[in-house]
């Protein structure tokens, strides 16, 4: 298991940079991973992050559609918050595994 120091804390990550222990996640870590991805986190980002972490904790499959119906944000807004590959980026910043879903 690889280790990476993020925001002064040593955390477990896989070879793609996704955190493998969700309990190590903090908001500071999220902010630093986001910066690496070129994103400055706002409250809106955090509400999406919390939503994703909650869903993942319940063992639910994460899909872009579920983000769109979360009530926090529509899909267009999601693409704007996490430009490029929103699900992957948001998952990485949220300290959860890369979503294993095709939708």
């Amino acid at each position: 298991m690889a280790q990476k120091v993020i925001a002064g804390i040593s955390v477990d990550v896989n070879d793609e940079g996704y955190m493998t222990d969700r309990t190590q996640w903090t908001k500071d870590i999220a902010r630093e991973i986001a910066r690496e991805e070129g994103i400055e986190l706002t409250e809106k980002h955090y509400s999406v992050i919390e939503f994703l972490r909650e869903k993942q904790a319940k063992g639910e499959t994460l899909t872009i559609r579920s983000v769109g119906t979360s009530g926090f944000i529509d899909i267009k807004g999601f693409y704007q918050l996490f430009p490029g590959a929103p699900m992957k980026k948001a998952a990485k910043i949220s300290g959860i595994p890369k979503p294993a879903s095709c939708v």
Binding site: T63, R65, G68, D74, A85, V103
Partner: protein
């Protein structure tokens, strides 16, 4: 030795058939590309036009005749003759849709809206529109343009681009 990688930058999809599985193959691949941050353009032609025609888009069917991969819910073979009975095609299609819904795969219109929300572009084929006597106003509002084949190829240029015919 460093292995050079050339990630996909653009994906152009062509959908020429109008069954549930053909249209969804295109939509899943298109949406998947958008979600990866890949520039995505989808061209609907021939029976594929049903997927972007207001009247048809949410009532697509799966063909129940002549499909050897079709099985009964328990896995037993599905005789073609059964597929010919009235109502069977509708029943099978409803079942396909409910199973996709359970996996959070949206109905056609919503799926297209998701692709559009991520910046994907949807086009219709001019020749097929003429053939089927369709007008632009018969199409879903999100269709960006009606194109000739040449127009579409022009949009498919560039390095690290793939054209995929589903």
């Amino acid at each position: 030795m460093i292995k050079e990688e050339f990630p996909l930058k653009k994906v152009c999809l062509i959908c020429a058939k109008g069954t549930i599985e053909d249209v969804y193959a295109t939509l899943v691949m298109g949406n998947g590309a958008v979600m990866e941050g890949i520039e995505t353009k989808i061209f609907f032609t021939f029976f594929g036009l049903d997927a972007i025609t207001k009247k048809q888009m949410n009532s697509l069917h799966t063909g129940t005749v002549g499909n050897p991969a079709m099985r009964m819910p328990g896995g037993l073979p599905f005789p073609s003759i059964l597929g010919m009975l009235p109502g069977v095609e509708a029943g099978v299609s409803a079942m396909m849709k409910s199973q996709m819904g359970a996996l959070d795969i949206p109905p056609v219109k919503e799926f297209l809206e998701m692709i559009e929300a991520g910046g994907g572009e949807i086009y219709a084929c001019k020749l097929a529109m003429d053939m089927f006597k369709l007008k632009k106003e018969d199409l879903w509002e999100g269709v960006k343009d009606v194109l000739t084949v040449g127009d579409f190829y022009e949009k498919c240029g560039g390095l690290q681009t793939q054209i995929i015919f589903t």
